[in-house]
Chain length 422, copies 2
């Protein structure tokens, strides 16, 4: 017997027919002898509907009241899944965020979970009752409804799994696992059996939309084993234990698994492409202490997240070009801020380019191997792909290229790192 937390997203909960499908997946876990808790999202489209109402009511809405409205979507699906499970002969009951309670801070609309009381929940699960928990919602210190921000249900699921010390947290999505890269770009992309928390974090931060970043951080911190798998499986498919999803595990566990399977550690785990950044170049910035700070301070003050930065040292004139990237959504705001501070910074021209893509290779294996970046640069150069900027972390190398070359670059690198399926 294991204790399992399952999480289903909005697409899986959209309508009675799909909820019935979810219920049968859940029931199979219980029939396999497991204690089961299920965390659910609102029906696809419902949160947008509710947010739309809030915007109409008050453009600058009070996040505490927004949360009262927004939390209703998950409350509805939690009740409906409990009812559906009951109709299939299972014992089931819903536990709303304020009932457990899921204690959060008071950052309404983007609250963070602080603690989940698990006593009543564990007793109910031990008595064979399937616990159905609305994701996304919690209770603030002053006793009001909070929500965790968009995509918060993944985080709810991981937090519940940590609270009940679950053996596994299964996240059912509309993909069936984590791939070496986007299978729509590379037909030979392979589904990964395992991936580490760190890799998942890097992949999420560079555009792989499988899991919400915050849920992965929490899983890493709480050492929750998270499995990503598809909710679009046949009714007669095997139970999740034997389903070929992707398991997200710690570094040590991955090493142990790979040793057990006599697998060689992969150098690179996956390749991600992110088209959501824009590039800005400021020409002829004074090459003196404080000049670069003058560029980035106003952006930081406006909470604009600067990612890659390159500074070309000028040879003689005491001037330099500064290039960096910001989220595409913040491009106009960034331009306005830089125009505003033009005199203080002292630059000649502002050149922006939103037709760029960031390509990242990610893998914990690169910690112990040199030459990962060199392989990347050579493979791209061989195909004439120009690198406009570079950034690296311990387990990631990212390059900025022309957006038109995104797919080509991903395919070239997938082959270069020998990730193609047979």
């Amino acid at each position: 017997m294991a204790r399992i937390v399952m999480k289903f997203g909005g697409t899986s909960m959209a309508g009675s027919e799909r909820i019935r499908r979810v219920a049968s997946i859940v029931r199979r876990q219980q029939e396999a002898g497991h204690e089961v808790a299920v965390v659910v999202s609102a029906m696809a489209g419902e949160t947008d509907r509710l947010v739309g109402f809030c915007r109409e009511a008050n453009a600058l809405y009070d996040p505490a009241e927004y949360d009262v409205v927004g939390a209703a979507g998950e409350q509805i699906t939690a009740g409906l899944l409990a009812l559906t499970l009951q109709s299939m002969g299972c014992k089931a009951r819903s536990w709303l965020g304020w009932q457990l309670p899921v204690k959060t801070d008071d950052a309404y609309a983007k609250a963070r979970i602080e603690d989940i009381q698990s006593g009543a929940l564990l007793a109910s699960m031990a008595a064979g009752e399937i616990a159905v928990i609305p994701g996304f919602q919690g209770l603030s210190p002053e006793g009001r409804v909070t929500t965790l921000g968009r995509g918060g249900s993944d985080t709810s699921a991981v937090a519940v799994a940590a609270a009940v010390k679950a053996d596994r947290c299964d996240i059912y999505t509309d993909v069936d696992g984590v791939y070496t890269t986007d299978p729509r770009i590379v037909a030979k992309a392979r589904k990964l059996k395992n991936v580490t928390y760190e890799e998942m974090l890097e992949l999420a931060s560079v555009g792989s939309k499988v899991l919400q970043t915050r849920s992965v951080s929490l899983a890493m911190k709480e050492k929750v084993r998270v499995q990503v798998l598809s909710s679009f499986i046949d009714d007669d498919a095997p139970a999740a234990d034997t389903l070929p999803g992707t398991m997200i595990v710690g570094d040590d566990e991955l090493a142990r698994i790979q040793e057990d399977m006599e697998m060689e550690r992969q150098l690179i785990t996956g390749i991600a492409a992110d088209k959501n950044e824009a590039k800005i170049t400021l020409t002829r910035v004074a090459d003196r202490p404080g000049a670069v700070a003058a560029v980035f301070s106003p952006l930081a003050a406006a909470s604009i997240n600067v990612d890659m930065i390159i500074q070309n040292i000028a040879k003689d004139k005491g001037e330099t070009d500064v290039t960096f990237t910001v989220p595409k959504a913040d491009l106009l705001r960034t331009q306005a801020l830089l125009e505003e501070h033009k005199d203080a910074i002292g630059y000649y021209r502002l050149i922006s380019d939103d037709k760029v893509a960031k390509i990242s290779v990610v893998g914990v294996g690169m910690r112990s191997h040199a030459g990962v970046a060199a392989t990347m640069f050579k493979a791209l150069a061989d195909r004439g792909i120009n690198i406009q900027a570079i950034s690296t972390s311990e387990i990631k190398v990212s390059v900025l290229i022309d957006q038109d070359e995104t797919e080509l670059a991903v395919r070239v690198l997938h082959t270069a790192y020998a990730l193609d399926a047979e």
Copy 2:
């Protein structure tokens, strides 16, 4: 300064534009210097949508989970009204059923309010914050969501008014008050300035749909002054204090008001028609002790509400005809039960008629006046309207007639009791 509870139904809350209208009505009360709490229904159609989901999930649904789903509708409108009030510059916050809490029994889906904690609510209202409370919902002794049954928001409003010792509970509806009779039938129907709880109860029980019966009983018990008025008023209409709605008050207060205004007490307050009953006649029932009990016991056991009963004493044969009415919705079930018990009862034929109408004249004034019934019978007889059954209470006389003559009878009686407007 007064303390006022306002209640708005689903039609008034259907969509952002209407919620804005409601908010401006509420704001006007606050600007008039009053402490204000608002009780809201779900958007029109929303509860039906949620109930539909529950039925699809589980035909024989668990009422506790049904309540989790059903209560979401009012949660949404409460948050939206608070947001809308804030957008107009008012301080406002929502108080969900479990937050106050509105303590109920554990009869899920048809819970009764037992107690409302008013401390935090009163403090918030005293601080100038408009309290927005979702109707229809409460908290069971075991800490789960309950709902009060359809139309329960009226009851929520009256209960909140009792808890905060409100000076008045204003129920905004899609009619602008209580009339002497249905204005669609009698063009000269007059809106009543005042009506007593007892009259309102009788009018509600015979088909006047203005207020839910349970809310009137509660108002009577708790001595809450309830005003019925229209939510479809112009933005520049006067505040509700001076709005010409109908005030529901106690017997003593009505007498005092009428004395103050040097008005003569009306004999009859209103006339209601109810087409929701069906008539059943059992012929040749044995005229012996226990025979009538044999008819009605099985119906009582099946919770079928028998209303009017007439027994024609036969002259010689030791047999009698028994006629009575039941709700039209229960007619088939009643017939089946009577067929089943035919031998035990011992009757000859069962004759049913669902083309009947019950016409009732209601008024506390009739307590002190004889001749009310006689006036009714004569007025109907003068127009050739045949009376099939009669029942009376202390403040009501009802007759059963052919349904085709409903409107004629109402008009004849409206004139006979001198209720027509000038």
